[in-house]
């Protein structure tokens, strides 16, 4: 074993002692397999920007603009603006517009809201952390789910 390999060995032992992988991180990684949603189409997060940044390209980056998340599936785009402080609120837009039932899930809870004819929806009083939206559009058999995303 050369000196570099020995140093990496020392570093491994030091990190194991000083900065070990927390048990909670391991448990969380194991638990997420049960979070998957079968038979639904995934809308992936394709844009994560502050709303001011997104709407005015030339604008100075704002430090307090709300976040604008964009999720995209094959036939549906979901734009979500995230606001609020200790509890989060979201307002969203389905593209193409149309009515839908939307379940917003987080670890240990969910709330259901409706998108109107224009594809607009909103929800308040959400806990900060990871959420996912399950969207069932009128006349569409297959649900669309967004990526889990921290708000």
């Amino acid at each position: 074993m050369n000196a570099d390999e020995k140093l990496i060995g020392l570093l491994r032992a030091a990190l194991e002692q000083v900065d070990p992988l927390p048990q909670t991180v391991r448990s969380a990684a194991r638990a997420v397999l049960t979070w998957r949603t079968l038979d639904a189409e995934l809308a992936e997060l394709v844009e994560d920007a502050s709303a001011t940044e997104a709407s005015t390209v030339a604008a100075v980056r704002s430090s307090d603009g709300p976040r604008l998340l964009t999720f995209r599936a094959e036939n549906l785009e979901v734009e979500v603006e995230v606001g609020g402080d200790r509890r989060r609120s979201i307002t969203g837009q389905l593209i193409p517009p149309g009515p839908a039932s939307i379940v917003i899930r987080w670890d240990g809870g969910s709330v259901t809201t409706l998108a109107d004819e224009l594809g607009c929806f909103s929800a308040d009083d959400l806990p900060p952390g990871l959420i996912r939206l399950e969207i069932r559009r009128a006349g569409s058999e297959r649900a669309v789910v967004t990526s889990w995303t921290a708000i």
Partner: protein, 193 residues
């Protein structure tokens, strides 16, 4: 299930087999953690990003183009999530940012606080540039990350990982030495452990 190939484990996990998933987690949890901590993210934020990286894998289990490269995929995903998180953090907390001490200038109190060698060595690691921190933490992970996985986490070609590794280790020795930690006697070819 540790005797199964990574591709088999990915396929079984995609079918919802928890044991296969746990084996994948055991194989790569320290790799993901090394990338997140290497970006200087700690505490609950680090835990959240790690969980997000694993969630991304759950979402993509049935659709990975190269399931045998799931380690590299996780490394790149963890990096992506770290960069995204750091970008928002810089927007949110521009005002209360406390500048870091310049590298290589130890806080006078640090010697007293970090009494034992492990703390000193990790303190030296934390003074390295981000690229070195990520690379060395990944090499020190158990099991160690492959060059392909490190390449994915750093966005560097595989061929440059070896030379970067040498430079980072040399710098780690220098900083550790400046903190008063004698590594030479511990890692010389004859002596050491």
């Amino acid at each position: 299930m540790s005797q199964f190939s990574t591709t088999d484990l990915v396929a079984a996990a995609a079918q919802g087999e928890q044991e296969a998933w746990n084996t994948l987690v055991a194989r790569y949890e320290r790799l993901v953690w090394a990338v997140v901590r290497g970006h200087g993210i700690c505490g609950t934020d680090a835990a959240d990003i790690s969980q997000t990286a694993w969630l991304r894998l759950v979402e993509h289990l049935g659709r990975l183009r190269e399931p045998e490269q799931v380690g590299a995929w996780l490394a790149a995903t963890a990096r992506h999530e770290c960069v995204r998180w750091l970008r928002h953090r810089s927007q949110e907390r521009v005002m209360d940012e406390v500048p870091d001490r310049p590298a290589g200038e130890p806080d006078p109190e640090e010697r007293a606080l970090a009494a034992d060698e492990a703390h000193l060595l990790v303190a030296a690691l934390e003074r390295l540039p981000e690229r070195c921190r990520i690379l060395l933490r990944m090499l020190a992970a158990d099991p160690p990350a492959s060059y392909t996985e490190i390449s994915a986490a750093l966005g560097l070609p595989v061929g440059s990982i070896g030379p970067t590794r040498s430079r980072c280790l040399a710098r780690l020795r220098e900083i550790a030495s400046s903190l008063g930690l004698d590594l030479d006697s511990r890692t010389s070819a004859e002596g050491g452990r």
